[in-house]
């Protein structure tokens, strides 16, 4: 228990330092842009493919039940609500925890093991600001954007599955999908993924940057980054949903 509290304290202090250093010059614009491209563009195929597959499978599953109860016309609406409100943000967060989190943890731990971080410090460059801050900021920026790709590719997958079954037109599918969708169903869940990004970036960087176990630390940092980030994302999701319901009470109905 004491170790858990100690760990939470260390990660929180690490995250706080990221926020403080982000607002302190020199601003690492080039490094941030590089990391956003790294996190965003390299994760895009995975996110789109996963969203598309999930959308298709979800339509297969929900269709039978909804048609049985005479609610076949609700399929696009249910689909869009499920994707925009929960599936898109959460699945994107978990996918990125796996792909990006393990990468950040392993890269930083390897840099520590091969003295590259010491090399940066020896050149009078603040290694935390140069290596950690851009990675965390990149995760915070990229997650909401990737979530949008997940949402819309899921919608496309759902449409194709529904089209195969009922020959519904794209125009009708889209108009039904967005019929019940309010702005409050769209932007709070999408923006909450910025918090997921903060979790992934901070936790993974923490494990990678602070390891002192050489080559063994690389594997440990990678695994711990994925496990702890995923767990914290799920826990944060619960808290954030309650916050969204508090701010937008109509969403809770």
């Amino acid at each position: 228990m004491i170790k858990l509290i100690e760990f939470v304290g260390k990660v929180s202090r690490f995250g706080f330092r990221v926020i403080v250093d982000f607002f302190r010059p020199p601003f690492e614009a080039a490094q941030i842009a590089r990391q956003v491209a790294e996190v965003g563009s390299k994760s895009l195929p995975l996110v789109i493919a996963s969203g598309f597959a999930l959308g298709t499978v979800m339509t297969f599953h929900t269709r039978t039940t909804l048609v049985r109860f005479g609610a076949g016309s609700m399929i696009p609406t249910v689909h869009a609500l499920a994707f925009f409100v929960e599936i898109g943000p959460l699945v994107t967060g978990l996918l990125l925890a796996g792909r990006v989190g393990s990468g950040i943890g392993a890269v930083l731990a390897n840099m520590r093991a091969t003295e590259q971080i010491d090399g940066i410090e020896s050149l009078s460059i603040d290694s935390f600001k140069f290596l950690v801050v851009p990675r965390v900021v990149a995760c915070v920026v990229a997650l909401p954007l990737l979530t949008l790709f997940m949402d819309f590719s899921g919608l496309l997958g759902g449409f194709l599955a529904e089209f195969a079954a009922s020959r519904i037109s794209f125009h009708l599918y889209i108009s039904r999908a967005f019929e019940e969708l309010a702005w409050s169903n769209f932007y709070p869940p999408t923006l909450k993924t910025a918090v997921f990004g903060l979790i992934i970036g901070t936790v993974s960087s923490f494990f990678g940057f602070t390891t002192d176990k050489g080559a063994q630390g690389v594997g440990e940092a990678s695994t711990n980054s994925v496990v702890v980030s995923s767990l914290l994302i799920i826990l944060a999701d619960v808290v954030l949903i309650k916050c969204i319901f508090f701010i937008f009470p109509e969403n809770a109905l």
Binding site: T114, E115, Q116, D118, S122, L123, S124, I125
Partner: protein, 247 residues
């Protein structure tokens, strides 16, 4: 600017432990400007730790470390950064940034720590890489370089900010005799042409005797001998005598 014969580096009763293991015990020595000190000793006797303490990658448990008249153990990060800029560090495995090309590895500190224009940076990188014989390898990634080339690239990065003090951790480890001799030549050239103060940690006594003016021998965390080669050969400590004559 450090005047000749003035102490460039002073270690004053420095101790350092990792958990229960004491790696340095009350170590004191001085290196004059322009001089080369070679630190010898068996593995795990605190030689590399000494270099990392010097550039403040680690803090000592006790004692004071002076670099160019600045006591660095209590300096704030901003002031420490200014002192570090007077030093270059050649790491044992070169520690090049593996996501950057050789050119980018050298240009990075110039971009971040100086006001030089792109043309000036290009010309400095060109010159320094040419100096170590890697003028045609600017676009290569560190993974494309051989062991000797990596070492030379590490040396080039350590020299790119024209340091007054160069710290080298095992510059010839893992290299054949010819490549090791080439690295030694580059260190000697740096010393004679630029009057750089060198502190070299090495196991290669042959190379050390070519490069060094003075020799410090560490054994089990203690500095057991410190002086010229002739003085260390006459030392009362057997380890020191054996190490300095082992070539």
């Amino acid at each position: 600017m450090i005047a000749e014969n003035e102490a460039a580096v002073t270690f004053d009763r420095v101790s350092k432990s990792f958990g229960p293991k004491q790696v340095l015990r009350d170590v004191s020595f001085e290196v004059s400007a322009g001089q080369t000190l070679c630190i010898l000793g068996r593995s795990g006797t605190g030689k590399s730790v000494t270099l990392k303490l010097l550039i403040s990658l680690m803090k000592p448990d006790h004692g004071n470390i002076w670099v160019d008249k600045h006591e660095i153990t209590r300096l704030k990060e901003a002031d420490l950064s200014k002192v570090r800029r007077k030093m270059g560090f050649l790491f044992q495995d070169a520690a090049l940034f593996d996501s950057l090309t050789l050119y980018e590895n050298l240009a990075l500190p110039l971009h971040r720590l100086t006001d030089k224009t792109q043309e000036e940076i290009d010309s400095i990188v060109d010159r320094v890489l040419g100096q170590v014989g890697l003028g045609n390898d600017q676009r290569k990634m560190p993974s494309e370089l051989s062991g000797g080339m990596r070492k030379r690239a590490g040396l080039a990065r350590a020299l790119v900010l024209e340091p007054k003090i160069l710290l080298a951790d095992e510059p010839s480890s893992g290299l054949d005799r010819i490549t090791a001799a080439e690295i030694d030549e580059l260190l000697i050239e740096q010393k004679t042409e630029h009057q750089t103060t060198l502190i070299v940690v090495t196991h290669d006594v042959h190379g050390a005797r070519r490069v060094g003016d003075r020799f410090a021998v560490f054994d089990k965390g203690d500095l057991v001998a410190n002086g010229t080669a002739a003085e260390v050969e006459q030392s009362e400590n057997e380890t020191a005598r054996r190490l300095i004559s082992e070539y």
